[in-house]
Amino acid sequence: MIEDPKAALAMHRWMVTSRVLDEVCCQESAHWFPAEGEEAVPVGAFYGLRPDDVCAPAYRGAPVVYLMRGATLEQVLAGALGKRTSFARGRHFSFTAPIALRILPYIAGDLGPIISQATGTAFAQKYRKSDNVTVVSFGDGTSNRGDFHEAVNLGAAWRLPVVYVIQNNHYAISLRIEKATAAKALVDRAAGYGLPGVAVDGNDVLAVHATVQEAVRQARAGGGPTLIEAETFRMRGHFAADTAPYRPAAEVEEWRGRDPIRRLEERLAAAGLLSAEAAQAVWSAVRGEVEAARAAARQHPDIRPTDLGLEQMFATPVQEARDAR
């Protein structure tokens, strides 16, 4: 049974959008990090949050979260194309987030620190006595950083309104998670911090959504954080140009059978909510939108050498203090 058909159909469309956008961005940039096969995690985890909640999606698959929060396809494509209209105006990777939509940006290139920062936005939410929450997701590999340990422990000790989602796609670049840890499941780490841990099928968007929403309710009610492990699979290489020769093809094929979009389409069809034709129509509509956005983004202005932004280094300029000498 599908409890909320409207939400399910919306999430279907977002997953399709993520998939199509990804394909196009991989064509445009060899450095793009494809999320094919993992769409159920960003879509399920971040769908349905309030506009004033804070989101910190894992870099892989993050763009669909920007879209769900109100960014346009054209803006995201402008990022992939390296246009002046990209969120960080070329200062950082195209996936740096639109902060105005209450999405935490990837400030630097090292993985891990964002988990603490998301714990900090949750701290601010609690400090202000709001009922907002922060949802942060990150990869299996990233969960082996010290940042994960310190941040999740602190979030749990202070009962902050944050949901930690591990997007376990089985790989950190070339390293299988089984080689990176002897833990049976990453969610087993929850007990060590004293917060609830929930494992969920990361290729079932409705399950991901329900699980995260339950954790969000708890966090809003002052019940503290939850650690969620969503198991999924990275279908492509680490970046667009990576052919991933370091791993067995059979494994990839096995996971192809669990494609999260097809699985949702089958459920929607079985529930009589989306016929094969209607599904097809979604795909073509999205393809059309993405192509139109790509064409439009191509016309965006290029980054200029003067965009380096030396003058934007400080929020409080020092010169004024000096001039007052």
Binding site: A88, S116, Q117, E150, A151, M313, A315, R325
Partner: protein
Amino acid sequence: MPGKRITFVEAIVEAIREEMRRDPNVFVLGQDIGPMGGSLRSTFGLWEEFGPARILDTPISESAAAGLCVGAAMEGLRPILDISFGEFLPSAMPQLALHAPAVHWLTLGKARVPLTIRTKVGDGPYQSHPQCFEAWFAHVPGLKVVMPSTPADAKGLMKAAIRDDDPVLFFEHMYLYHGVRDEVPEGEHLIPIGRAEVKRPGRDVTVAATAWMVHRALQAARQLAAEGIQVEVLDLRTLAPLDVPAILASVKKTGRLVVAHEAWKIGGLGAEVAATVAEQAFGSLKAPILRVGAPHVPVPSHATIRRAFLPNAQDIIAAVQGVMKHA
């Protein structure tokens, strides 16, 4: 404003107290800063006034504490992070050197990190964790770095740091902590970040110094005055961004420069000061630029070798005499 004689750390705590009363978004987190009152009394009395909601004891998780501050600051709070000792800064290095400083620039000014990080460095009776890493942070774009030498400056700079919308790293020297006492203006007393100050004027040689070395430089200046050498002691106060105009103005007047700090000489902040002058005031220089700093070994624990390690007034005197040989 009327002043009262208080110690360096009392001045800092007073600044924090006033700013916390003024702005409910200001809060402090760190280790043992609550009921214990902070290591070396760094937050003495604050917990009693502001309670556990605004004075937060963290676990030994410097990296998460710093990251929490970055996130909270991006949400509009104004955290003060008490990193007990400078030796623990490396434990939070990614947040301090890569993340906090880049936010404003990266977000095209849409987000900011009004974060004050305070930490204790340098020699002192406590004799632990004294490493002076300020040069690392002065190299990082987006950070402001201050290092006062007097209670009054400490109060004024702490208030300025808390009100500043950028991350400010505030170094508190442990020898000064309970060791110097000063008339400190009560209430609204701010020292602008980015301004050095001439602590003693002189026409023969400029000694640019930081923190405790300012006092050693003053001591050296008094001794050298007896020899007829007029030393100008320039307290850098802010290390990033450096007050280049003030440095150049002093050297253009004296024609000679000695830089003194407690950090290792090699790669220390003195190199940046010397290089700036060798670049921008070369024509005024009558003598080589000498640097006084620690020798290139880790800071030792035991008092005897610590004394052998630390630069002192005698080293400054020798350097000044050295540059005075050049007419």
